[in-house]
């Protein structure tokens, strides 16, 4: 079986699985990706955010150092738990002095608060392969609830790595002033929109990092 056929077959199984269940979210991916511990695949994880700058444009900023683990329940995704941490000094704007300014006490104060974190409260299945992830985000030592609209894109055993993988897209928004990041509001909008594209690999974070350093499959 070549790779394409394998993926198609896996996808077909997932689709069949969905069709047989009244609550497809809880079962999607169940045939391809088992329950268990997964870690953020840093080769395939992108956390971007944006805001309206002076009414003129929506800059595309990136948080480049993202770690996290997922306890995935393929039978009932609402039992799944995720914990993510993002290095506050890893935000990239493509303008070096702005990167430094964001890490400084004017903004994230990364020396004192090196990580932003997100932890799950509960996952609420809505329709199809979508749901709302209710959790808490902590930035600069301030914790607030955050809702992310999540799409479970797919889950299957990777045909080359032979390890189960999961993929999600998520969006959400927060008010930066809630976290003591209120400089230049409202010239720079208070609302920050999050755009998360994340893949997970079965195993612990250490195992995922080791696999990444060996495989370097790149794409």
């Amino acid at each position: 079986m070549n790779r394409k056929t394998f993926i198609a077959a896996t996808a077909a199984l997932v689709i069949v699985g969905c069709g047989q269940n009244d609550n497809p979210v809880t079962d999607s991916g169940g045939d391809g990706a088992p329950s268990g511990r997964y870690a953020v695949d840093r080769l395939h994880t992108y956390l971007s955010f944006s805001y309206l700058h002076q009414g003129l444009s929506y800059p595309l900023l990136r948080a480049t150092d993202v770690m996290g683990e997922l306890q995935f329940d393929s039978e009932d995704m609402s039992n799944s738990i995720i914990d993510v941490s993002v290095a506050a000094a890893s935000i990239r704007t493509n303008v070096e002095h702005f990167d430094k300014e964001l890490a400084s006490r004017k903004f994230f104060n990364a020396d004192k608060y090196p990580y932003m974190t997100f932890s799950t409260d509960h996952f609420e299945a809505t329709s199809g392969n979508e749901g709302v992830l209710h959790g808490n985000v902590t930035i600069k030592g301030i914790t607030k609830p955050l809702e992310l609209v999540v799409t479970f894109n797919d889950g299957f055993v990777h045909p080359v790595l032979e390890v189960p993988v999961l993929g999600f897209s998520a969006t959400g928004s927060l008010s930066r002033s809630d976290f003591g990041l209120d400089r230049f509001v409202p010239v720079v909008s208070d609302t920050v929109v999050l755009n998360i594209e994340v893949e997970f690999r079965h195993g612990s974070t250490d195992e995922s990092l080791a696999a990444a350093s060996i495989a370097r499959d790149g794409v």
């Binding site: 993926i7 395939h44 009414g55 003129l56 702005f98 300014e101």
Partner: protein
Amino acid sequence: MLSRLFLLFPLLAASQTIHAHHAFAADYEAGKAGNVEGTITEIIYKNPHARYYIEVDSAGGGKEIWDLQTMNLMMLGRVGWTKDTLKVGDKISVDGILGRNNTKRMSINVVTHEDGRVISPQRGIAESNADLNARTSLEADSPRGEFISLAANISPGDYELEDNHAYLGFSYDHMGLSNPQLQFTEFDATLSLDGNNMANSRVDIAVNAASIVAAVPEFEARLRGEEFLNVEQHPEISFVSTGYSETSDTTGTLQGDLTIAGITKPATLTVSIHAAAMNQLNKREMIGFAANGTISRSAYGMSDFADWVADDLELNIQVEFQKARESKTEAGR
């Protein structure tokens, strides 16, 4: 050293201008008409609005200055309203829409001049009210293009990239699992803008192909290599526009030739203008827009991993431009 953020201070003022364009209601109480009479003390005949300051006898016996605004110069020019139509010292009576909260501002509907002329930003210059009222508004059946571009708020000419606020991103479907968000971090662009005739506008973009950023450096190195961008042989990605057609006052379709890895193909971008206004601190006109489009990577000879990675690349461009200075001196960032 000025940080890029300090540049934002002026923009409190600039954003008011922006709002004045985007939301008329932000400055004027819609439908609340009024009349003021006075003598013109100052004229600012510049985009985004022509402005006339007049000295008015106040109810309390003193004098007060009112700020009267009308349309951009291009729209005024269409009805024959020029910088010489009204002059400092002229006595005028103005009907218009009053500013909010008793601010001494008004948006001009009709100006009645002491010499008898009746002047409307929509219907032009007439000898009398009856003459003016016999005319239909040019707005009703414009002989020009279908849309008055938001870009008409700023003057035509050359604009340079405000490279502190310029992003060039793209994404694709990876194995049905996720949509990686890559960027090129180094690029320059020039815009030759004609807001009065957007079809004449041009944009050229030059991207440093090696500046691609992805989730991990190893992947970036691979993308720079021969199987993908081949940056040794083809260090520059370029886009040269060949045409622009408007689909609304803020949107349009930008056609151009896109060259990647030495291969040139036509590409189409959908443009959405967010704002076009004066930056009040440095007095430079600015325009910000998004451009989105889809290109096929195989068309540029990059078809590896076709089983796993979609052929379509979704482009997401966010840019700001500022009016180029005559002397091309440093922008003062």
